[in-house]
Amino acid sequence: MVKKKSYIALLSAALAASVALTGCAGGSQNAGGSNAGGGTSAEQGSASGGAANGGKILIATQTPLSGSQSSLGDAIKTGAEYALSLRQEEFKKMGFDLQLFPQDDQADPKIGVSNAEMLISNPDVMGVVGHLNSGVAIPSSVKYEEGKLVMVSPANTAVTLTEEGKKTVHRICARDDAQGPKAAIYAKNSLGVKTAFLIHDKTAYGQGLADQVKAQFEKDGVTVHGYEGITQGEKDYSAVLNQVIAKNPDIIFYGGLYPEGGILIKQAREKGYKGYFMGGDGLDSSDMIKIAGDAVDGVVFTSVAGDVEQTAEGKKWAEEYRKVTKKPLETYSVYGYDSMNVILNGLEEAIKANGGKKPTREQVLEAVHNTKDFQGQFTKVTFDEKGDNASADVFIYKYEKGKDRSTFVGKAE
């Protein structure tokens, strides 16, 4: 009997250790989920059928289509899909059967990489719109680089992504080192905060953003009372919040995504926290409102994505988008749309340069990389040597009680 018990003890000790470790990796919420591959073949079948003697060209999207971040991932996919569908005819005239090839990376680096592997082994795939998560984009881009497959990201803000010197990597949004400092400066100058508490979710994105904000706060003389990490997928953050309450800072800055951000602000307000709550574009989702409930009132966030509906022309586009796709407009929808168009423009150039024949991936990559002063639906795109967009801006939004989406405040200077 004693022997049996010590065996159980050993087993549980090992389990305990493994839980502690996976807790750090923060990937626990991504268990399960299905791949979107099944849906794509049906789409291809129905849309093709015209004369396409130049061959088939696939443009992939890689975003989470299942899991807790799927509302953001689906917005990017739908935006890209819409852009592609508008230009299918144009490419058909050139003799190509242009199709979308959507992949579900489940916000999981492992899945992202294995999808990337599959994409580079398919010679018809000419470009990738994605990812949503920097932590997925960075390892996946190793594969794209191997296959010379051009990637245009609508949403990855982690600095390291383009600092690794990969030629295939591009993004049309701003980087964290623009978002973080601008968020901190806005908090100090416009919200007038003097003390801050930083919380992050231990991911490349969340911790990266929190680090940048911390550095800027320290430079500007805002007192940082604490810097703590939380585990994705947990629902009880009272331990960290008790620390916050003890320090009573003017602002909580959270580097992370809305499933945890929504719970954090809700539990903070329940504990009587009265100050500001600010985050990055990870808080940007209509689901944030559902999770946080009334506590969402006054939550401020920066975003590398602007509100397309600020101009009359943008509003018209948005209405058209809703009508055709029958999906709600998320902020990233238009970025998915613009990313797709950047790739399609490059593809078109490459086809022309190749005398109307199907270009190689290197040729498409070269053409996309040289994008200059391209005016998308919302952003202007000029890629620099690293693949960053030289014309990207950072914007401020806030949530208000009773509204089902965030309100645009303005450009962060």
Binding site: V2, K4, K5, S6, I8, A9, L10, S12, A13, L15, A16, A17, V19, A20, G23, C24, S28, Q29, A31, G32, G33, S68, S71, K202, G226, Y227, E228, G229, I230, T231, G233, E234, K235, D236, S238, A239, V240, N242, Q243, I245, A246, P259, G262, I263, K266, Q267, E270, K271, G272, D287, K290, I291, G293
Partner: protein
């Protein structure tokens, strides 16, 4: 500064700890009888959370939640969730564990892990089809809080603690004082002898799963009421921690599971609140699980049978 938040930290730790404790009971009861770790128990807890929340959401959509007495609503969702998860537990035992009872120890363990994946994705799928999203925000029945001056206790946390204690008391009474409870303890000590004493072993095992699972389901309801947001994966972390609590207290021992659960919740809460300030930021709250589990490993190194493993010889 540090001490001023201590009462609040303890209250939060207790709330979490009592939830661990009730879920831990489910692990420990099954282990006590079958010497088998039912890893699907965390998912049963999750199903309970979803069933309770769905009942509330449906009542809300029909407009009947408006005038309902919150205590009545709470009892209603507890009863429904317990009935569903109890039946689910019994069904799982019948389909996935009973045919494997003679098999080597590891086989039903794998079967349990399979069941847990199945339940996760089943709930995810059902919710995605029915509501187009698979995490739910529960209407909260009790929104007030009690201010004690040194700490505020939200009403919903009080509800968690009171109901958890009630369930444990009823369970203790059942196991120690009733005929069925005596039968359960007999089966735990020696199955074959118990069956010679005209105890229907299969039925006792069914009863164990019924009680353990409905306790887990009830905790799910309490969890959803306390934190407001649930998803199909909440059972994983909580289940592992509750299992840990059961081992910490001495698996197979009811009192051990209760003490282990509360202790684990308190440790976690204390570590989360104090590690950062005490190490001046070197080890922040992100290491709270590392700290808690290091303590667990230490306890098990010196007392492999768990805290209560020896003090009380009888199981269940």
């Amino acid at each position: 500064m540090l001490l001023s938040i201590l009462p609040q930290v303890l209250v939060d730790g207790l709330t979490l700890g009592f939830m661990y404790a009730v879920v831990a009971l489910g692990y420990t009861m099954v282990y006590g009888i079958l010497e088998f770790i039912n890893f699907a128990h965390g998912e049963i807890f999750m199903v309970g959370a979803f069933v309770g929340t769905e009942v509330l959401l449906i009542a809300d959509a029909m407009g009947s939640l408006e005038g309902m007495n919150p205590y009545f609503a709470l009892i209603l969702i507890l009863v429904v969730a317990m009935a569903v998860t109890g039946a689910l537990g019994v069904g799982i035992e019948r389909v996935a564990y009973r045919p494997l009872r003679g098999a080597p120890r590891l086989i039903p363990l794998i079967s349990a892990i399979g069941v847990s994946f199945l339940l996760q994705d089943l709930v995810r799928f059902t919710e995605a089809v029915a509501r187009n999203e698979f995490y739910l925000n529960s209407p909260i029945l009790f929104n007030g809080s009690v201010n004690l001056g040194i700490a505020t206790i939200p009403q919903k946390a009080l509800i968690v603690i009171v109901i958890a204690i009630l369930m444990m008391m009823i369970l203790s009474f059942f196991v120690n004082k009733t005929k069925w409870g005596i039968a359960m303890r007999a089966v735990a000590q020696d199955q074959s002898t118990a069956s010679l004493m005209t105890i229907n072993v299969d039925r006792v095992i069914m009863l164990t799963f019924l009680i353990g699972s409905s306790l887990g389901g009830a905790t799910g309801v309490l969890f959803a009421q306390n934190y407001g947001t649930i998803d199909p994966y909440i059972g994983f972390i909580l289940g592992l921690k509750a299992f840990t609590a059961a081992v910490l207290g001495g698996i197979g021992n009811l009192r051990g599971a209760m003490v282990g659960g509360v202790l684990l919740g308190l440790l976690e809460s204390l570590a989360g609140a104090y590690m950062g300030p005490l190490t001046s930021g070197a080890f922040g709250a992100e290491y709270k699980d590392v700290f808690t589990f290091s303590i667990l490993i230490l306890v098990l190194l010196f007392k492999p049978e768990g805290l209560f493993g020896e003090a009380v010889k009888e199981k269940v």
